[in-house]
């Protein structure tokens, strides 16, 4: 069964996303909305990790042997400036997208397994992740013209 592999992927993906949100919050502290929301969203990721814990304990977490190319890497460092912010937000989109589709995969498996506990965790998590993606997209849309056309 490959579910444990995917649960592990999800676990590390959420961790990486949380760390990256924190990194961007820190690195772009002069953008108060980015700082504040990235911190809030990092906390959400960690809550999801915590919610996943009992399920992980049940199935056991296997290191991702096979789909290792899907491994999620946290951002190494925040960039600077208006374009840097845009790039960092885009990196967060990539990470969050991977997390989002991992939840989709796990959701499908949970249905096949009729695992109510896991389904409950998934139902909590999925709308949150899509909201995070929606916020990132909203912020990117409003920042892009100024960063690309007018930034000093």
């Amino acid at each position: 069964m490959h579910l444990p592999v995917y649960l592990g992927l999800l676990d590390s993906g959420e961790q990486a996303l949380a760390d990256s949100f924190d990194l961007v919050a820190e690195g772009h502290g002069d953008e108060p909305d980015v700082r504040q929301l990235c911190r809030t969203l990092a906390a959400q990721c960690r809550e999801r990790v915590a919610a996943l814990r009992p399920v992980l304990d049940r199935y056991g977490e296997k290191p991702a042997a096979e789909p290792e190319r899907l491994h999620a890497e946290a951002l190494p460092a925040a960039r600077t400036g208006a374009v840097g912010l845009l790039r960092d937000l885009q990196d967060l989109v990539l990470l969050a997208t991977l997390v989002d589709s991992s939840w989709t995969v796990v959701c499908q498996a949970a249905q096949g397994l009729r695992d109510r506990e896991l389904l409950a965790v998934v139902c909590q998590a999925q709308p949150q992740v899509s909201n995070q993606l929606a916020w990132l997209t909203t912020r990117i849309k409003s920042a892009a013209p100024q960063a690309l056309l007018a930034a000093a």
Binding site: P32, D33, A82, N131, Q132, P145, A150
Partner: protein, 784 residues
């Protein structure tokens, strides 16, 4: 003449529910003026969002006083201290700006309009050619007239094509608009001031109406002293006059409004005090709301909010069992943590009981400033004109047709830029020209040290139009002397959608001109044209601008098509005023149909926690179709909680005697005497603990700065201190920091983008012992 400094709300004229609020004519004339020689010019007061109808007294070409208009639906003849003393006296102040100023060699020197406008047009043209329209920003006011806002909106959106336009209304009224859009699909005040006449209970959420809109409080007091007094419920961390008059006072801990409101909503649902038929037929989102608030039992949040659980249940019960309830919301919610989400819960309470659009059953998401409603309608504040939806291509096409421009010129790739972001872009150097009209950000924005640095930066070309050389004007590159209220004609709309015409009573001094003139002149010099080469701004006077706006409003919720200057000469009318509502509409949504349909709605909404925009496709899938939206959000702890280093929470706010940054009110001797200097209010418990006495000077420090102020001891909730936000530096010789916004941090609500003026962590240190007497100014908050 009564002393309306001591007696802020004036003589009581009690009345019964359902009755007519008795008239009481308040007036004040300068000493020695013979009332028989005076000529009266109709207007309305612009010193708060109430918009009290008044006549300006004119003698020998000067304003010499005012009187309330007894037939005006807003005030029935009354005026508050600011209206009586503050509205007209600044006009003849010797330090009015009367000539344009230009910065040369680091100094502002006198010049003429031609030179000043030449300079503006040259810089603007060069920047447009070199950097494009995103280099231009406009920061306007809540105190200009409709005609000025609309003209500016057309210049910015159809002429230059910049999304960077906002008003200081972002600081006072953005959450009101945001909450209305999220719940009802579109801006537009549901209630009416006449709801006070009918209500059986009035809930005031973070709304210190006794000081912010003193005449509205007079109306409420007259009901309170009438034979069938309405119950009053007050949510406010301070023991304000409203709190003292209340049957139930919930002194909520700053920053926890949403948790408290979620609990009230939960208790209302748990006690099954809701109108199930109304919820089914006229709302969407009930299940999600119910589930979200399920964990907010009164017992669960009591400690967090600092309010006894029984009081939370009492509030819910009172709301759920009283016949007609009016709710009002203001800065205690708007300028605090999770502002939009908390304000939406007030809308939810009314939707859950189906209590909208009937006499006494209303919501007033209040405005702060007198003409804030017009920045919103006209699109000078981060909205599109006529409450149009930036994400609805059809709406953009309507505007493009009206203005005869390419739809792509109109920036609509995302919502117009909000004020705090405009200043951020200026700080980063991507906005290079900032035109500021009728407002004083160097005192009124958060984190003043930063704002002064932005405005003072040589790379930013700053244009300031004002009546006085404000703290902001002193940092400008060009200063335009502005005509003030009474020196120009125009219309404006108050909190309850009452449109007033304010006529020119006297000539402006020297070379001062209206902002409308300045904007029209700029458009001419920039040669802004439509697709066919005709001038984009096809008007040059207020009535022409009003006619253009009327067309823009056609068919929209804020429909002005039935209004004209002629009509408004007879008194105010509430919009919408059109063929369907020829006499205006007193209350909105009595039929349970809301402007949420596609093509009608001003916005598709946001996630209340993050502000993530709902896409048109997602919105379509929700099938809201004319129902209201019950919006839900979880409380999350805020960033600005207290620490060991900064153990107290600062809130800032308005007081009865002053408005905005005192540019007008401090020039009225009565008002200035009443509250000449700022102070800090400390709770009795904190004062004891810190060994502080009234009159002591303390240093108040936050992460961003400090101020040194005298102490006033009050019975506010322990842990909370208060500083009035009006005071800047133009009328003090001392260089000591004293503006409240030295202490506030740059942070805002994710949906409405309204800054958090009521949430800074601070500490107090005793600097000097005083004489144990309270500093003047806070008396209006004490005793009813």
């Amino acid at each position: 003449m009564d002393d309306r400094i001591a007696d802020v709300w004036g003589r009581r004229t009690p009345y019964r529910g359902g009755g007519h609020w008795p008239v009481r004519e308040d007036s004040h004339l300068a000493d020695g003026v013979d009332p028989r020689r005076v000529q009266w010019v109709p207007s309305a007061c612009v010193l708060c969002s109430n918009g009290c109808g008044c006549d300006i007294a004119v003698l020998d070409g000067r304003m010499v006083g005012v009187r309330g208009r007894v037939r005006d639906r807003v005030n029935h003849g009354r005026l508050g201290p600011k209206g009586l003393y503050g509205s007209w006296q600044a006009q003849s102040s010797p330090d009015r700006l009367t000539v344009p100023l230009l910065r040369q060699g680091g100094r502002l020197v006198e010049t003429d309009w031609d030179t000043a406008m030449d300079r503006i047009a040259a810089v603007s043209r060069a920047l447009l050619d070199d950097k494009g329209p995103l280099s231009h920003g406009f920061y306007t006011s809540g105190q200009l007239f409709l005609e000025e806002y609309y003209t500016l909106a057309v210049i910015g959106k159809a002429g230059l094509g910049t999304p960077h336009m906002d008003g200081n209304t972002r600081l006072c009224t953005a959450t009101s608009a945001a909450a209305l859009k999220e719940s009802f699909g579109c801006d537009g005040q549901p209630g009416s001031y006449t709801d006070v006449d009918h209500a059986d209970a009035i809930f005031l959420y973070g709304h210190n109406v006794a000081e912010t809109q003193t005449v509205l409080w007079s109306r409420i007091l007259d009901r309170i002293e009438g034979p069938d007094r309405p119950r009053i419920v007050c949510v406010d961390p301070r023991r304000t006059a409203v709190a003292q008059a209340a049957d139930l006072h919930l002194p909520v801990r700053p920053g926890t409004n949403l948790a408290l409101l979620n609990a009230i909503v939960h208790e209302l649902i748990a006690a099954d005090l809701i109108d199930h038929d109304y919820v089914r037929d006229h709302t969407s989102g009930f299940a999600q709301l119910r589930d979200t608030v399920a964990s907010y039992g009164a017992d669960n949040v009591a400690e967090l909010c600092g309010v006894p659980a029984d009081d939370i249940r009492r509030a819910a019960h009172l709301f759920g069992t009283t016949g007609r309830v009016l709710s009002t919301v203001l800065q205690g919610f708007y300028q605090s943590h999770q502002a939009t989400a908390a304000s939406c819960q007030v809308n939810n309470l009314h939707l859950l009981r189906g209590m909208l659009g009937r006499p006494g059953c209303g919501v007033l998401q209040m405005n702060g400033q007198p003409t804030a409603e017009n920045t919103r309608e006209c699109g000078a504040d981060g909205d599109l004109p006529g409450f149009r939806n930036w994400a609805d291509e059809e709406h953009i096409a309507q505007l493009a047709k009206l203005w005869n421009v390419d739809p792509l010129v109109i920036p609509h790739w995302s919502p117009p830029t909000h004020a705090m972001q405009i200043f951020r872009y200026a700080e980063q150097g991507s906005i290079r020209l900032l035109w500021i009209s009728g407002t004083n950000p160097a005192v009124s924005l958060p984190d003043l040290a930063r704002i002064r640095a932005v405005l003072g930066d040589e790379k930013l070309f700053v244009i300031v139009s004002d009546c006085f050389l404000t703290e902001t004007a002193q940092l400008a590159d060009v200063v335009l002397p502005a005509a003030m209220w009474g020196e120009k004609t125009g219309t404006f709309t108050n909190t309850d959608r009452s449109v007033h015409l304010s006529l020119k009573a006297v000539d402006p001094p020297g070379q001062a001109r209206s902002d409308l003139d300045a904007f029209c002149e700029y458009a001419r010099r920039m040669d802004l044209r439509d697709r066919d080469g005709a001038p984009l701004i096809g008007w040059s006077d207020p009535e022409g601008a009003f006619a253009a706006w009327r067309e823009c409003s056609r068919g929209r919720p804020c429909d002005y098509t039935g209004l004209s200057y002629q009509r408004l000469r007879h008194g105010p009318v509430q919009w919408p005023c059109n063929d369907e509502h020829p006499d205006g509409q007193e209350r909105l949504y009595g039929d349970g149909v809301f402007p949420t349909a596609l093509g009608r709605c001003e916005e598709f909404g946001h996630d209340l926690l993050t502000g993530a925009a709902v896409t048109p496709e997602q919105y379509r899938a929700l099938r809201i179709d004319g129902r209201a939206r019950l919006r839900a959000a979880d409380y999350v702890p805020g960033e600005h909680t207290t620490t060991e280093e900064h153990p107290l929470l600062l809130t800032t706010g308005r007081t009865a005697y002053h408005f905005h940054t005192r540019t007008k009110t401090a020039r009225a001797p009565e008002l200035n005497r009443a509250a000449p200097r700022p102070w800090v209010e400390v709770s009795a418990a904190d004062a004891r603990r810190l060994d502080l006495r009234e009159g002591d000077t303390v240093r108040v420090e936050s992460a961003t700065g400090h101020v040194d102020l005298p102490v006033r001891v009050t019975d506010a909730r322990p842990g909370t201190v208060f500083i009035p936000f009006h005071y800047g530096y133009w009328d003090t010789d001392s260089t000591e920091p004293r503006a409240a916004n030295e202490l506030t941090a740059t942070a805002w609500d994710p949906v409405s983008k309204q800054p958090h003026f009521k949430l800074a962590a601070v500490r107090l240190t005793l600097l000097a012992r005083g004489d144990q007497s309270a500093p003047p100014g806070g008396d209006a908050a004490i005793g009813v």
